[in-house]
Amino acid sequence: MSLDQWHHIGSIALLCTGLYIVISRDNLVKKMMGLNIFQVAVIFFYVTMGKVTGGTAPIIPADAHGHEVLYSNPIPHVLMLTAIVVGVATTALGLSLIVRIQEAYGTAEEDEIVRLDLEEIG
């Protein structure tokens, strides 16, 4: 493991923190925050791969002729734009599900919901 790979190590650290929040916390809103952190980690993994040293943002200046300007790779940026927008759509859907769960069960804590369900069966 070398420190040249710091960008991957950072993304993976964020990813593991997000996953930890999702699987260890009982509060459903907290789980959605963890899911968002997980998503940002994946976005970082892609965006750091698109960076070129000495490159600039992929916007062509008006006076550019040919290839003398070095740009960072635009493809990861495009893919991650889609991911962010889809991410907020899933967040909105998840949060509205939590609101419905709160209305039906009176709580947004996972272990209490499971307990209420088990009481209903047994």
Binding site: D4, G50, V78, V85, E109
Partner: protein
């Protein structure tokens, strides 16, 4: 190491603070700061389009949605027991992933394979059709169907939210709604 590495440490500290916080309102605010800081880092990494989308959507809309949910649910997270298994799972996953990324290119390597596939073509094409922003060209033209699929997903999600929350006013007092039905059954 560049400044981004230091900012990454700050991001991880913020994420850990969110995991630790029991006050969900404070956690939501930290989450907003987390998104804003990551937007700044995207600017440093030349991804300006991703940066302003993240600033608008992550720090703005997501935080507002979370705050709205907190207003309808509870503001405080209950203190749960400490569990060892999730921690071990995450550490194991992290170690495996770091082992798996060891032979990937280093940060900013201009010779990396990703930069020599279709990216030069896209930049060249964007120059030829006189659209200055290459990301716009790829998003709307080269990968237009991707964007179409994305809008479909957003539409479906919006429809789902409307269906889930649409009848909220009717559900508020189910007794009042059930009462007239019962009387009508009796009269018939």
């Amino acid at each position: 190491m560049p400044i981004e590495a230091l900012l990454f440490v700050l991001l991880v500290v913020l994420a850990l603070a969110i995991a630790h916080m029991r006050d969900l309102f404070a956690a939501a605010m930290l989450f907003s700061i987390f998104s804003l800081l990551s937007a700044g880092m995207f600017t440093l990494m030349d991804a300006v389009d991703v940066a302003f989308t993240e600033a608008a959507v992550g720090a703005g809309i997501s935080t507002v949605l979370i705050l709205g949910t907190l207003a309808l649910t509870s503001n405080e997270e209950r203190n749960g027991p400490f569990r060892l298994t999730p921690l071990l799972v995450c550490l194991g996953l992290g170690a495996t992933l770091i082992y798996g990324t060891r032979d990937l290119p280093v940060y900013g390597d201009p010779g990396a394979v990703v930069h020599h596939h279709v990216a030069p073509e896209y930049i060249e094409g964007s120059h030829n059709i006189h659209i200055p922003n290459v990301v716009t060209t790829v998003l709307a033209s080269y990968r237009g169907y991707d964007t179409f699929g994305e809008t479909t997903v957003v539409f479906t999600a919006g429809l789902g939210v409307l269906l889930l929350l649409g009848g909220a006013a009717r559900r508020r007092d189910p007794e009042e709604e059930a009462a007239p039905q019962a009387t009508s059954e009796v009269t018939s």
